[in-house]
């Protein structure tokens, strides 16, 4: 048992240790001050980010609809998830969307950045930069609503102009064959600005001396692009791919607003299924189990990308 005197001594000892008029004491005081400044952020992360993640892990082991007491069911939600056809389809759709959307965003973003980087007129360069970046500032929901009208089979302007060129009406949102293409176009159009501006920044940082040296060595045109420019842009490509994959796996707004996951389940994504189970069907435990699996999938993808990046990312 600690006596009152002992406690006072230990407090005095700590204060003495902290307030020592030495270089070590000064370093300790600075370190503690630093941690104090970090504390609000750490608390915020714990309460608003890490906390809900841990709670989700816990909730996934219960059957709970908020109105009745939670019922501990061990791994039953995960067992149900394995046999749930709609979950399998939605994860498959998400994978398809992720591959198509990230490939589109990165490749077209790169092409546009290369094109705009070559424009010598400053005003025109700013104009294109602003134009390509603007969609990113728009509300995803608003974009999805407008795109929903544009892609309407019978009365959408897109099919109208395609019709003038002799193209038959395309069921953009109502055919299982087309719907994912439509969602990818919508998502890529909005998010292209991010990869574009990232690559513009990367291109601006490539040393002119390196490019001149490549010229001297006879590397021009596509050869210079492939062997010099793209390797030097690889850190930006990695960043765009990693953030793109994380965002794409969580796609929700576009399919939810444009198609409600249809036709059938053709555009139903993992986050949509999670939302439907948790908030529409009030199955918070099952919704949490889907969230946990999604979390693990995102973590696995990101870890794989980071591991593979060692083979192709070149840091100057």
């Amino acid at each position: 048992m600690t006596t009152a005197k002992g406690a006072a001594d230990s407090r005095g000892g700590f204060l003495h240790w902290l307030l020592q008029d030495t270089m070590d004491g000064l370093r300790r005081r600075r370190a503690i001050l630093g941690y104090l400044f970090l504390l609000p952020t750490l608390l915020g992360i714990f309460v608003f980010t890490a906390g809900p993640v841990f709670v989700s892990f816990g909730l996934s082991l219960f059957r709970w609809n908020i109105f009745r007491p939670p019922d501990y069911i061990e791994l039953a939600n995960y067992e149900r998830l394995i046999g749930d056809v709609r979950i399998a389809i939605s994860f498959g759709n998400t994978l398809k969307f992720t591959v198509l959307a990230v490939a589109t965003q990165v490749s077209i973003g790169l092409i546009l950045a290369l094109a705009v980087h070559r424009i010598s007129n400053t005003a025109m360069r700013y104009y294109f930069r602003t134009t390509f970046f603007l969609p990113l500032l728009m509300s995803g929901a608003a974009v999805a609503v407008v795109m929903g009208y544009i892609f309407h089979k019978e009365f959408g302007p897109l099919n109208y102009y395609l019709g003038l060129m002799g193209v038959q009406q395309i069921p953009w949102k109502t055919s299982a064959d087309w719907v994912m293409v439509t969602i990818v176009i919508t998502s890529a159009w909005r998010n292209l600005g991010f990869t574009f501006i990232l690559f513009i920044g990367g291109l601006s940082n490539i040393s002119q001396e390196v490019l001149d040296a490549a010229d001297v060595d006879g590397a021009q045109g596509f050869r210079r692009l492939w062997s010099v420019t793209i390797p030097l842009l690889s850190p930006q490509i990695l960043f765009a791919t990693v953030t793109g994959v994380i965002g794409a796996i969580q796609v929700f707004e576009e399919p939810f607003i444009m198609t409600r996951g249809g036709p059938g389940n053709a555009s139903r994504t993992a986050v949509m299924v999670m939302y439907e189970h948790a908030f529409k069907d009030i199955e918070y435990g099952y919704g949490s189990a889907i969230a946990v699996v999604l979390f693990l999938v995102i973590m696995a993808f990101t870890a794989t990308q980071m591991w593979m990046s060692r083979r192709w990312v070149f840091y100057q």
Partner: protein, 476 residues
């Protein structure tokens, strides 16, 4: 005190005392004990276009200590709004008075979120109010708001699935609005007759269109084909209402304490046949691709003469008026007969939260809303009809004066003249059921599956869903 009795000195002193006290008190400042201010939280669809404001004004005029806070929730359909209410409650927010249509009535009642109203109604000192109200509301609407014998919402509005016609499109093709005894074959003939295609085979004018949702959609075809998604049973109870307020009314015969939908029958021959009908019309180009949504696109089709017929209720009249259609440009008729002419409806009203912080004031709001005074003040029913009144008295010629349709009697006749009319299936698990229904529908309507395969899948999903539910119905 008799008039001839002489006043004694004691009486005189008493009077003088009382009079003096009165004089002293009259000179004092008047102190009134004010009632504590109470705020009720009421669900509303919007703030700029909040049709409940006149009801709140009436409430505040009667009870100046009450104010109303609006909890604004929107969604493209009832199940989405219901999901938002649930999310709100899950987040710890409170609500005193919520709104639910048939789609979510048993959901809120079954979860214990809404309070039963039986005792409030039967114990109300103003029984004339309730006698007048129930005499004006068809019992099928009341029964649809019951769950396991108790009433959870006094119906304010309803919409039966009737058929709307673009009269100009019909006339251009030599068709008149059919009579109430028209059939499915008449419908198909008209739908095909008014469909117009261009040289490349694309449809310019569609004969018939609908929205992929629970109410409306192809559900009316399921009913008239003789099918349903679930078996339709009745819970016991409700006699407090039928005996107390509908005594002698033949329309209450066979009614119980609300519906029980518990055995899925989604792949019965009748349902397959109904789906096959609408799939055939789509494949012929009579019907456009079917999407989910609020029906805004369909309203546009209709108002621009691109569509001839669609399932809708009284609410469609106001929408078409707002889209610029004039009275006479459209009309309405009962759903056509097939094996029977069993109609469907959905009804709506406000519910009182079980955990309401101001239940008495919330209940007062609900009473005012369904009173005659409330209906007269409500912009839902006049001058531009937004939804069909649950009170017969406010579904009259005057209410449709500015919008039409000419055949407005059809709305209430669907209830009054057709005893088999019943609500859309909406058990306490209506939200996931609706997802399964709309997914299966679009599987067939996009050609991804045959109607039989889509409905077989729907049936197995509904069976699995139903098996997962807790004991919502008392005798399970």
């Amino acid at each position: 005190m008799s008039a001839d009795k002489k006043m004694s000195r004691r009486d005189l002193l008493k009077l003088a005392g009382v009079g003096s006290a009165g004089l002293v008190m009259s000179g004092l400042p008047v102190t009134v004990v004010a009632q504590d201010a109470v705020t009720i939280k009421v669900q509303a669809h919007g703030l700029d276009d909040n049709q409940l404001l006149p009801i709140a004004d009436l409430l505040v005029a009667k009870h100046p200590h009450v104010s109303v806070d609006w909890v604004v929730l929107t969604g493209i359909d009832h199940e989405e709004v219901a999901a938002k209410i649930l999310a709100l409650v899950a987040a710890g927010e409170s609500i005193d008075v919520g709104y639910a249509a048939t789609e979510a009535t048993q959901l809120f009642a079954g979860q214990g979120l809404a309070a039963p109203l039986d005792d409030r109604i039967t114990g109300d000192a103003d029984q004339d109010f309730w006698t007048d109200y129930f005499a004006d509301v068809h019992p099928s609407l009341v029964e649809a708001m019951m769950y396991e014998g108790s009433l959870y919402e006094p119906p304010r509005d309803f919409n039966a699935a009737n058929m709307y016609f673009n009269t100009n499109t019909l006339a251009e093709n030599g068709f008149d609005v059919p009579g109430p005894d028209w059939t499915k074959d008449d419908f198909v003939e008209i739908a095909r007759g008014i469909t117009k295609k261009d040289d490349s085979g694309n449809t310019d004018v569609f004969g018939y269109a609908w929205i992929n949702r629970l109410w409306g959609s192809w559900m009316p075809w399921i009913f008239v084909a003789g099918g349903n998604l679930y078996t339709e049973e009745r819970a016991p109870g409700g006699n407090w209402c039928w005996d107390g307020y509908y005594e002698g009314d033949p329309a209450v015969e066979g009614r119980g304490g609300g519906f029980r939908w518990r055995t899925p029958i989604a792949n019965s021959d009748e349902v397959v046949e109904a789906l096959q009908l609408v799939v055939d019309l789509w494949q012929e180009g009579v019907t456009p691709d079917i999407e989910m949504g609020s029906g805004a696109t369909l309203t546009g089709f209709y108002a621009t003469g691109k569509l001839g017929m669609t399932p809708a209720g009284g609410f469609w009249a106001g929408r078409l008026k707002n889209e610029g259609m004039e009275k006479g440009d459209f009309d309405v008729q009962l759903w056509p007969a097939w094996r029977n002419q069993k109609h469907q409806f959905g009804t709506g009203g406000h519910w009182l939260a079980k955990g309401a912080k101001a239940p008495e004031e919330g209940w007062e709001f609900m009473k005012i809303e369904v009173s005659r005074e409330g209906f007269e003040a409500s912009p839902f029913f006049y001058p531009v009809i937004i939804t069909t009144s649950a009170r017969r008295s406010y579904s009259q010629a005057a209410n449709y004066e500015s919008t039409g349709p000419a055949n407005y009697e059809v709305f209430y006749d669907t209830l009054d003249k057709h005893p088999s009319t019943s609500p859309i299936p909406a058990p306490p698990w209506a939200n996931p059921m609706t997802t399964i229904f709309t997914t299966g529908t679009s599987n067939a309507m996009s050609g991804a599956m045959s109607p039989q395969d889509a409905l077989d899948q729907m049936q197995s999903e509904l069976e699995a869903l139903t098996a997962r539910q807790p004991q919502y119905y008392a005798d399970n």
